[in-house]
Symmetry: C3
Subunit: 163 residues, 3 copies
């Protein structure tokens, strides 16, 4: 590859990492109203167990297939859902471009979410893998698809906050 | 932006990440005598709860506002404090430049610290966010301010080792 | 340093990070047959406690000094070992080039491995540091040495899957 191509590729990698970091910090900061803006209008956000994902079973905990549904989810979270107060802290690593087709980057990364509840203890809440489809709209990366494939089968409290 | 500017920005991002990585590895390797050198002479190192930080309350677990105070802390740690032997392991992610003003970069990142005590178990000790103010002195980044904003309200053992 | 040199150095850093990410995702995806391919033919893979490493004691949990031994290990894992089903999830951070000599990069990073067993809970399984010796063969980085120096002295279940 020529230097320019490598530079372009590194710049894309950088922007994809930046998207991922901004995404998790938005959730951790509890700025959920901004959360749908990381997605394209016509998108997929899914939280699914590793088992179901590997067997291609569709059953998932959360399945939203438009930005409107993501917004609804935030409204429900703010107004309707009853749950114990908690905060999240995401650690993400190994953000890798695994493929590229039709202007879409497939990106894999590993995540761990720690939850702190009112008792003050921080616990491993959920770990797994993000499988993302990312496109660039006017030079800005957006999630066309974000699949949260979790290892942790026990979801200790109602999963109301996005991962 | 032009290519040169983007390159410069990426180089700054790289150096800031490098600073953060060197910082945590210094602590994890128990080379605490080197720890104050990551800061400017006139600095702020603070460990504060998320609650107090968000409400702008000043009360914090640790508050040091000069490199001299950081050195004192290390001396106390080595000579005076009594505590159970333990090692730390930091995992840091999502190091993001959140702002730039007066030659100072504001940088946010997420951390998780695992503690291993003499019983041999590794536990989630403390998770939270670093809010850093970083300046470059002769091309080398230094912490002018490092605020450790922790989610974990329960500090299981006396917090003696910096985070 | 000149721009070209800096660019080359960043490119090397990038490829080393990429190697580390691909390595952990290979294990987490349970594609263990591909695992030996991250190493040179004549290699060292060692899992050793922090205590023994620091005192230069040789005793380790796993010691393989050729790619053939790594392959044997995978065969044993697939066919002979009896253990409770589990999956791993690695989080790696702070991948830093700590030295360079004789075409070999010494690289330090921190890792945390979460294990999920059939009961569905994800637990902190093992945390520690990778100390790697990496060489480039035809522009591709390979582990000439990978030392897994663990803090966690309690290995709750037989350690059969590589870290």
């Amino acid at each position: 590859m020529e230097l320019k191509q490598i530079n372009d590729l590194r710049e894309i990698q950088f922007k994809i990492e930046e998207l991922t970091h901004a995404y998790v910090q938005c959730i951790d900061d509890n700025r959920l109203e901004e959360w749908p803006e990381f997605f394209t209008g016509d998108c997929l956000y899914q939280i699914i167990s590793r088992e179901n994902h590997e067997r291609d079973f569709p059953a998932s905990i959360i399945y939203c297939d438009s930005k409107g549904m993501l917004k609804d989810r935030v409204t429900a979270h703010r107004q309707a859902n009853i749950f114990e107060a908690h905060v999240y802290r995401h650690i993400v690593s190994s953000i890798r471009i695994a493929g590229y087709e039709n202007d879409t980057y497939t990106v894999h990364s590993n995540y761990a979410v720690f939850q702190t509840r009112v008792n003050g203890y921080s616990e491993v809440y959920n770990v797994g893998q993000y499988i993302d489809k990312i496109i660039f709209i006017e030079d800005e990366p957006k999630f066309k698809e974000k699949k949260v494939v979790y290892d942790t089968l026990v979801i200790p409290t109602l999963l109301v906050t996005p991962i």
